[in-house]
């Protein structure tokens, strides 16, 4: 038996501290290596932290809701069979296990380790859970298995196919490959599907001076989460920094809708996740940026910093508020590569597996508020970028084509841009280029 320290991990270079949101295990609970041990929140993202080794959670040093510096010891694990290599920087301290107060008798170890609760809320049948246990598939891995059942449910066939592929090595483990699946519940655009309203995310708090002003029960006082506070800060800073101008263009998505409809089944079969509209839009934007690189810049004093790469951010509503994961080097990716990257980010956002690096370094942002039914919006620029594209809901509309009336799939794109550097001419031309890329999409493209 060896005692292993669990430390507050450093989630990114600029992160100095983290808050413990939730311990997933109680003292005395058995935990597997890489099984989710706790959830932490930094000022960038919320993350689930895997256990550094297998063992029993012997002691929780830092309770929930406490914020500590990175590398602080937050818990101890008792491991079986001597010292176990650990991700903790400090060497495991070898000392006799302390008797744990609440349960002096070691808790009986169940013959079958129950799987953790699914973070996505996706339903798994008893049989699928059983197969996952037998095959040693963790809940986080199970969450990545493509489901072909109703509402994206993983059927017996799906998991057996996954197990077979896993054994034959034709499928990279999701953690390494990241070639995961999108949930069927979000078939059209990348978006988390279970977005809790802000009021549920923010926890009630009692602040006497505020309570005097806002008496109960007419008022609730809620604590803004780190992510919410950061959002507020960034939004105010952005409108103070950049004179926003918005241009709105109409896009005829009929060809894209047709292409997606014709290829979605084949695509899903090949790639293992659903084809959404997002990669089409991302692809069109990246191509337009290559033609109008001044959109892909930032301003430092009186200097323009032109980025010779495209890190494309995609705004996503998550349970904890707005998050903008970034596709790095989007300019190097073809359509499939973009689709995989979008799917990977969507999935990791939903499963709280984003790393701080995933949300840094963006050079241009797309915000798809169409998933909420919004037709036209005026998004706020994600600083220090100089433009942001907002995409509305695709709706069938009567359109005039060659003086004939036709039914077309129409969407409105808004680009907000920073008029310090982008004028109406450049903004309009860039957006029109995006429009043309989508309207003239290469219908012969196959997967």
């Amino acid at each position: 038996m060896a005692r292993v320290e669990v430390v507050m991990p450093q989630m990114g270079e600029s992160i100095a501290e983290g808050t413990i949101v939730k311990w997933h295990k109680k003292v005395g609970d058995k935990v597997k290596k890489d099984e989710t041990l706790l959830e932490i929140s930094t000022d960038k993202v919320d993350s689930e932290i895997p256990s550094p080794s297998a063992g029993v959670l012997a002691e929780i040093v830092v309770p929930e809701q406490k914020t500590v510096a990175v590398r602080t010891v937050i818990a101890y694990l008792d491991t079986e069979g001597g010292a176990v290599a650990t991700s903790a920087p400090a060497a495991p301290t070898l000392e006799a296990p302390k008797t744990v107060a609440p349960s002096p008798v070691p808790m009986p170890i169940p013959a079958i380790q129950p799987l953790a609760a699914p973070a996505s809320g996706r339903f798994y049948s008893p049989l699928v859970l059983n197969i996952a246990r037998t095959e040693g598939i963790s809940m986080s891995e199970l969450e990545m298995v493509p489901g072909t059942g109703e509402e994206g449910r993983v059927s017996k066939k799906d998991i057996l196919a996954y197990v077979a592929a896993r054994k034959s090595g034709t499928m990279a483990p999701p953690a390494a490959g990241g070639s995961a699946v999108s949930s069927a519940a979000a078939p059209v655009f990348m978006s988390t599907t279970k977005v809790a309203p802000i009021g549920i995310v923010a926890k009630p708090v009692e602040v006497p001076e505020l309570r005097a002003k806002y008496p109960a029960p007419q008022h609730d006082i809620l604590q803004m989460s780190n992510v919410l506070q950061k959002m507020a800060e960034h939004m105010v800073k952005s409108v103070q920094t950049s004179p926003h101008v918005a241009a709105i263009h109409e896009v005829d998505m009929t060809n894209v809708v047709k292409h997606r409809g014709a290829h979605s089944a084949e695509f899903e079969k090949k790639e293992g996740f659903k084809l959404t509209f997002t990669p089409y839009i991302v692809d069109a934007v990246v191509k337009a940026i290559k033609k109008y690189p001044l959109i892909n810049t930032s301003i430092e004093g009186d200097k323009i910093i032109k980025k010779n790469f495209v890190n494309l951010g995609i705004a996503v509503a998550s349970d904890n508020g707005l998050i903008v994961p970034v596709i790095k080097h989007a300019e190097e990716k073809n359509f499939i590569g973009l689709a995989r990257a979008v799917n990977d980010l969507a999935l990791r956002t939903r499963n709280k597996k984003l790393m701080p690096d995933d949300i840094q370094g963006g050079t241009f942002t797309i915000s798809n508020y169409g998933v909420f039914g919004t037709m036209i919006g005026t998004p706020i620029i994600n600083q220090p970028q100089v433009a942001i594209l907002g995409t509305g809901a695709i709706k069938k509309r009567v359109a005039v084509i060659d003086d004939a009336i036709a039914i077309r799939s129409i969407v409105y794109f808004t680009m907000s841009f920073d008029h310090r550097i982008v004028d109406g001419a450049l903004g309009g031309m860039f957006l029109e280029e995006v429009v043309q890329n989508l309207q003239n999409f290469d219908m012969t493209m196959k997967f």
């Binding site: 008893p126 049989l127 699928v128 859970l129 059983n130 109703e150």
Partner: protein
């Protein structure tokens, strides 16, 4: 080996057992001269005489009571109900006396009660009921429900030789519509053993009696049109249930449909579903589904009866729902 109808196989089973064992005798309404309401015992009076083919008074209580008494003193009676519906008049004799004799006095009660059962014949509410679930609830009774001529003969012979009261549900709809190979001579189909009628590992149907044939049709549709392979298990005996076969089939498929002609609420399917949930929950990949009749008396009007009863499209739909889940 000869091809015979379902009712011919039942008659053949009784005939062979009466030849084989002189303690076997028949009792029922109009079973002698008339040969029975469905002619299952035609010719029996001439062959075996009035001591062994007894035309009874018009009383199911008397028939079952007399049969129970005869069984207790060492005879092997076969009591005929003209329609399964009429068994209600003999309910007390069956449930209170026949079923509990062995428990109370260690007396074997080797009797068979034949119950021509079910709908699909436009017989209306008093001649079409499925009554097996009433007796399924009574410890001390065995229940069989064959779907083919082969099983009908083999189960009849096994029922006659069994030392417990056995309710033999025979499907009027199948009497002359189903023909099949029936070996000459002696064979029995062991009580308590189901049979896999069709292989498949996507979904399993547990069924019995008339609906076995509908399930086989539906399974073919799924195989041809959907590429889904459905296993069809004919339970054949309802009490005792073939639990081993049920569990192994659940474990080998993961999805379960239970089909019976009886109404869904309180039907045997509910007990099978509960047993599966208790014993093989971790093998289930979908909620267990049931197809049965609507919770009303059996309607007389043919279109209403069709609407009321299970049919192939209803089973196909349930199978597709399961496949999609």
């Amino acid at each position: 080996m000869g091809v015979m109808t379902y009712i011919e196989a039942i008659s053949k089973g009784m005939w062979e057992e009466m030849e084989r064992d002189s303690s076997v005798f028949l009792i029922g309404e109009d079973i002698g001269e008339y040969g029975g309401a469905f002619k299952a015992t035609k010719g029996f009076l001439k062959q075996f005489g009035p001591d062994r083919v007894i035309d009874s008074t018009l009383s199911e209580a008397a028939i079952i009571g007399a049969a129970t008494g005869a069984a207790v003193v060492g005879m092997r009676p076969i009591a005929e109900m003209q329609f399964a519906d009429f068994v209600t008049c003999g309910f007390n004799q069956l449930v209170v006396n026949a079923a509990k004799m062995h428990y109370r006095w260690h007396l074997p009660v080797p009797m068979v009660v034949r119950l021509p059962t079910g709908g699909y014949i436009h017989g209306g509410p008093y001649h079409s009921a499925s009554t097996e679930a009433w007796f399924f609830h009574v410890p001390g009774l065995k229940i069989v429900a064959p779907s083919t001529p082969y099983d009908a003969k083999g189960l009849m012979k096994a029922a006659i030789r069994d030392n417990n009261p056995v309710l033999f549900f025979e499907y009027k709809y199948l009497y002359r519509r189903i023909k099949g190979d029936v070996p000459d001579g002696d064979y029995v189909v062991e009580l308590g053993k189901g049979k896999v009628k069709r292989g498949g590992d996507d979904t399993v149907i547990f069924t019995y009696g008339s609906t076995v044939h509908l399930c086989l049709e539906a399974a073919e549709v799924l195989s041809k049109e959907d590429g889904v392979e459905v296993r069809v298990v004919d339970l054949r005996t309802l009490m005792p249930l073939d639990k081993d076969l049920i569990l192994s089939s659940v474990r080998e498929t993961g999805k379960v449909l239970i089909v019976h002609e009886d109404t869904v609420t309180g039907g045997i399917g509910g007990e099978i579903a509960a047993f599966i949930c208790e014993s093989a929950f971790s093998a289930l990949d979908a909620p267990i589904k049931r197809v049965g009749s609507l919770d009303t008396p059996v309607p007389f009007a043919p279109p209403l009866e069709e609407y009321f009863l299970p049919d192939t499209p209803k089973i196909v739909k349930a199978l597709r729902d399961l496949a999609r889940y």
